[in-house]
């Protein structure tokens, strides 16, 4: 099995006619994802790649094509509204790839999505992939392989490293989720841990964190409370200086809080295998599962 998305998921792409949106939509279709509709206000009626209908609004896409997952490539100035539109149209999952959305917009968007019962993933994230079933995001499909490990990460490319190792070692992934690098993410590590715990096919979880915030500490608290699966973790940013934003809007050590050392300590104490190099994530998981 998998979590969040699978072969049944029906995707509507918001911003499908933009350069990023159209490129990645093609990649998702090529991977085998069911992209059933696109939305670009003003371009309703056209066909994307001669087969995917484009609508002016998300609610039309939901009504006419039965879309239940939105993938959002709308630029930062319009992204908050786009996510709310998806939530209001009733999709169960909105995956927001867009980077650079103001944090206070996200505070509002997260509250709005909760009020509509829509799960938001991201923003500023690579999306989610359930290998062999559906790819809803910008990750390279070919490094993934259907398997038994759940992957959760605040990073994009660093996740591909870990996924690549799991694939080479034959463990594969049930689902790999990028929760994004922003300070106000729609979905947290804790949410993903809970979903993986319910998935009978997931045998272990890889959690890739980084400096800033307390999401890793919150994950540690859940794992310490009899979490049923083994967890391997790497935290990026041990060498990051305090007060500097390290690329991701959320990756900042503020007021001495949010350091890699604190996070690693919390996770270790919760029973997580914390590795100090991303190169050995796969190996560590193999050792746990075979031992």
């Amino acid at each position: 099995m998998s979590i969040m998305v699978d072969g049944e998921s029906r995707i509507v792409v918001q911003g499908i006619t933009g350069s990023e949106g159209s490129f990645h939509t093609s990649q998702c279709i090529e991977y085998g994802t069911q992209v059933v509709a696109g939305v670009t206000p003003g371009k309703g009626g056209m066909l994307f790649e001669e087969k995917v209908p484009v609508f002016n609004t998300v609610s039309e896409a939901v009504e006419k094509e039965g879309a239940d997952v939105a993938m959002i490539f709308v630029p930062p100035a319009f992204a908050a509204d786009a996510v709310k539109e998806a939530a209001d149209a009733g999709v169960r999952l909105a995956v927001c790839i867009t980077e650079g959305i103001p944090a206070l917009d996200m505070v509002e968007v997260v509250a709005y999505c909760k009020s509509r019962g829509t799960r938001l993933l991201g923003p500023n994230c690579p999306g989610v992939i359930s290998p062999g079933k559906a790819k809803v995001g910008i990750m390279p499909g070919f490094v993934h392989q259907e398997g038994s490990i759940g992957v959760i990460s605040r990073s994009g490319t660093l996740t591909y490293e870990a996924v690549d190792q799991l694939t080479r070692l034959g463990l594969g992934q049930t689902t790999s989720i990028g929760i994004g690098g922003d300070p106000i993410p729609g979905t947290s590590f804790v949410d993903c841990l809970e979903m993986f715990a319910e998935d009978p096919d997931t045998k272990g979880v890889v959690l890739i964190g980084e400096i800033g915030g307390t999401a890793e500490e919150e994950a540690a608290a859940v794992i310490a409370d009899d979490y049923p699966l083994p967890v391997v973790s790497f935290i990026a940013g041990s060498t990051a200086p305090p007060g500097k934003r390290m690329g991701h809007a959320g990756a900042i050590i503020a007021g001495g809080k949010g350091t890699a050392a604190e996070k690693m300590k919390a996770l270790s104490e919760a029973g997580v295998t914390v590795v100090d190099s991303p190169s050995v994530i796969g190996q560590a998981m193999t050792e746990i599962l075979s031992g």
Binding site: F23, H24, Q27, P76, A77, G100, P102, A103, L104, V107, E108, V110, A111, P126, I138, P140, F142, V143, S153, R154, S155, G156, T157, L158, Y160, E161, D164, G181, P183, I184, I208, E210, I211, G213, T214, A215, E218, F234, A236, G237, S238, T239, A240, P241, G243, K244, R245, M246, G247, H248, A249, A251, G255, G256, K257, A260, D276, S277, P278, S279
Partner: protein, 389 residues
């Protein structure tokens, strides 16, 4: 983006928050003129405050009290053009380019008031403390019970009763309590209106005649909102920022200068941090953090290279690109193009993985330029460290 104290205070005033009377000056003579005006209006002394984007100024000699216009001029002369070293700057300090001259206040009580994002609760939070004048992090560590918090409901905003609860919690009553509650509501509104990530008053004072005054002011703006706030972009002081960081931001690259010897060029923030960590594990030290983005093109790679080569003390360069959407062959072309134009006098280690990485490695191997290729991240880091020594 950080604002200066004098800029923040202007915004406070527009919101109705009282600040001491004063003016900004960038020459000793101008400082004297402001001081003369303030003494003429009855001030018994004036504060001379260095305007830099770093906290802890008092500890570094960046805040002085003058009892005459001549003394204000003298203090200003001593500050302007010098490097101010505070607990928040590096040992090299920051250049003082202007000072704020303000009428001295008659302080009865010092408080702390701030609004920032609460990441775990996913909303804004108002933080207040009776321990004004101290860094809030220190209060949190030493006297956590002295910190009061009120979460701001994103749908409704901060409510009047919450502001009153905070003001009473600070031990205030009567006129000061009402005044403080009003400032709390005004500050929460300002936080929202300015798209800020932090607004802070430390200290917020109650004067001997019960007035509530912001003696200091700090505002940080969320960089992500600048596209819709040309009014705030105008307040950006580029001279306070690292030259290379500014140049990088013009090319949509994220660059942070560090003090090591190995230059790093990586795609993706998480991988970039992990690469720095791996260099440290291998016994070296990174010269910078440079994220060329998850979808780097040949052109971004070339620009990144030019910026990277300007870093001081550079002894080796490590390029680590994990091709996902970005294709390895394009990255390789970018590197070759950049090395053709930029003089490179240090060894370069390249690791290419992912989409079209084979093709990229072949292009690099066939070029006339000298590279060391690496397969894994730790191999790449070890090689770079070895070559930097």
């Amino acid at each position: 983006m950080k604002l200066h104290e004098y800029q923040s205070k202007k915004l406070f005033q527009q919101q109705g928050i009282k600040v001491p009377e004063g003016g900004v000056a960038d020459t000793p003579a101008a400082a004297r003129a402001v001081a003369e005006d303030l003494f003429g209006k009855g001030a018994s002394r004036v504060a001379v405050k260095a305007q830099v984007h770093a906290g802890g100024r008092g500890k570094g000699g960046g805040i002085k009290l003058a009892s005459s216009p001549e003394e204000a001029e003298l203090f200003t002369e001593g500050m302007l053009g010098t490097s101010l070293v505070t607990p928040q700057t590096g040992p090299e300090g920051v250049q003082v380019r202007s000072v704020l001259i303000e009428a001295g206040a008659d302080i009865a009580t010092e408080l702390y008031l701030g609004v920032t994002l609460d990441r775990s609760n996913q909303c804004a939070v108002v933080i207040a403390s009776s321990e004004g004048g101290m860094a809030i992090e220190e209060v949190a560590a030493e006297k956590p019970e002295a910190i009061l918090r009120e979460l701001v409901d994103p749908g409704w905003g901060l409510q009047g009763f919450q502001a009153r609860r905070l003001a009473y919690g600070l031990g205030l009553t009567g006129v000061p309590q009402r005044g403080a509650a009003k400032v709390i509501l005004q500050l929460a509104q300002l936080f929202q209106d300015l798209d800020s990530s932090l607004v802070e008053i430390n200290p917020l004072i109650i004067t001997a005649d019960d007035e509530v005054v912001a003696l200091d002011a700090k505002i940080n703006i969320d960089d992500n909102c600048l596209f819709r706030r040309p009014d705030l972009v105008e307040l950006r002081d580029l001279s306070e920022e690292d030259v290379l960081e500014v140049e990088a931001s013009e090319h949509n690259l994220t660059y942070n200068a560090l003090d090591g010897t190995i230059g790093c060029m990586v795609n993706g923030a998480g991988l970039a941090m992990a690469t720095m960590d791996e260099i440290l594990l291998a016994g070296g030290s990174p010269a910078n953090f440079l994220d060329v983005g998850g979808s780097a093109s040949a052109e971004t790679v070339a620009n990144a290279f030019r910026i990277l080569m300007k870093a001081p003390d550079l002894q080796a360069v490590l390029i680590n690109i994990c091709g996902g959407i970005v294709r390895g062959d394009r990255v390789a072309k970018g590197i070759i193009e950049a090395l053709d134009q930029v003089e490179v006098n240090v060894p370069v280690v390249v690791r290419l993985q992912g989409t079209n990485a084979e093709e990229g490695r072949r292009l690099l191997a066939e070029s006339s330029l000298e590279f060391t290729l690496a397969e894994t991240l730790n191999e790449a880091a070890s090689k770079a460290v070895e070559m930097s020594q």
